[in-house]
């Protein structure tokens, strides 16, 4: 029942984010969708993921998107039609992907109500897993983020030096 509320909130937020004309409005509703997703995580008992979702997505990603919108385009731009020109082909692709996903979920174990015993996911275990078992992937992700950051700064700096 609680899950239904959060699911509807998330889906409604996502749909509104796509269909609102005002760009900043759609970002704010997308933030609501992120929060709904975090609520679903929390309901599943994954505290770390839930709060990290809020911290990262709502706190950082949403703000980043907002800054990007404000710094690159006029927020009160002339609203165009919400349907792109190629909406028929896109709808077909969406239906196909949805069908594949639905079939996959339907065929998997989760939909047969055979829920395997949930693994304990306390902070201690997540922490020790990250540091011991998954140390290499963690470091690689760190390197990847650093590379992305340096790349972004380099690209931006080149633009600035060109315009000087």
């Amino acid at each position: 029942m609680l899950f239904a509320i959060f699911a509807i909130l998330t889906v409604a937020g996502a749909v509104a984010a796509m269909s609102l004309r005002n760009l900043v409005h759609s970002v704010l509703v997308l933030t609501v969708a992120f929060a709904g997703l975090a609520a679903v995580y929390l309901q599943l008992g994954a505290q770390f993921i839930g709060f990290a979702q809020i911290l990262v997505y709502v706190g950082a990603v949403a703000i980043l998107i907002v800054f990007a919108i404000l710094l690159t385009r006029e927020a009160t731009a002339t609203p165009r039609s919400i349907l792109a020109d190629s909406w028929k082909e896109s709808a077909l692709v969406v239906l196909v992907v949805f069908g594949v996903l639905a079939w996959a979920i339907h065929k998997s174990a989760a939909s047969r109500n055979i829920v395997p015993p949930q693994p304990e996911a306390t902070m201690q275990q997540i922490g020790s897993a990250l540091m011991l078992r998954f140390a290499l992937p963690l470091e690689i992700i760190g390197v990847l983020l650093t590379v992305a950051l340096i790349g972004a700064v380099t690209i931006a700096m080149q633009d600035r030096q060109e315009t000087r």
Partner: protein
Amino acid sequence: MTETADQLFVILQHWLVGHAPVGLQSIVSALLSVVAILVVFASLFAITTVLERKGLGRIQNRYGPNRVGPFGFLQPIADGIKSLTKEDIVPQAADKTVHFLAPVVLVLAAFSLYAVLPIGRNMVLANLDAGVLFFFAVSSVMEVTIFMAGWSSRNKYSLLGAMRAVAQMISYEVPLILASVTVIMAAGSLSTVTIVERQAGYTGILPHWFVFTPWGFAGFVLFMIAATAESNRSPFDLPEGESEIIAGYYTEYSGFKFALFFLGEYLGMFAISGLGITLFLGGWAAPLPFLTWVPSYLWFFAKLLAMIVMFIWIRGTLPRLRMDQLMNFAWKFMLPMALLNLVTAGVWRFLPQGVLRWLVCSALVVVPYVLLGRGLMQGWKLEKRVYRFAE
């Protein structure tokens, strides 16, 4: 006897919950705690506004408000009546939904920060396993609301103020979180209750609070500076100080919505001081072993009051920082110091107890502080101003 006084509110809550039907008991218990938090911290807000005005007045060699009530202490009532009866002006071009929602969500987020603060022994609303993470997650929601406030006013100065405020808050979140990570490392848990429990105990007369270690002291200073910046308090109040000069992100708000912004900001200040107390100052623990008979919640509020006095004192002393000075300070000074503090905390943990540990860790904290300070101040020469186009 002291046990009863200490657990007075817990006993009261259990007694009241006992009267409710069994199915609803958890909800009633939570509701009672929520009502208690609302009442206590809203009154603390009211008292703080008058304390701040009187304190600032005395620092500035004048009286504060002294007309309403004895020595002016009923001033918040007058302020409340004023803000409730003012006309609520919404600009015509403003985005009405977002304009309305911004202060509401801010106050919501600010109040939910208190859910993980242990106010006394056994007196925490939600003993979350990831309490500190919850705290930081919700405080990042507050940044979004500030942006919402600034953008929905359709005022270029509000927008500028909001963007500066958000930039300031996300910059100072990094040293804030890093300073807390040192405590989490030392305590071994993200739960606020566990962190307070780790700081119980006394060696001789000195409590085991984390602030009494070199890395803890540095971490505490970093945390409080970042907390001042997070709450947009002087000297980091450029986003709201602008409103005295041009406009800030809550210029277009009048009456009760403005009061809500004020409330949200002060509540955020109390909550982040509360977290600082929990992480570094031992939460509800007494400072000296023979003072443990005083109830735990009184210690928490005494420490909170000390923090508030510190905030007011600093507000009365320091001028406002400029935006570039603010950002430089966060990224060039506080972030390296926070990272070094992290290393120091690790070194502290792995060295055996004794004088060597103190010497090494103090050196690890003080030497970079001095060197970094000197290095950053080197570029500060007063030069003759050169105009690029005017001559």
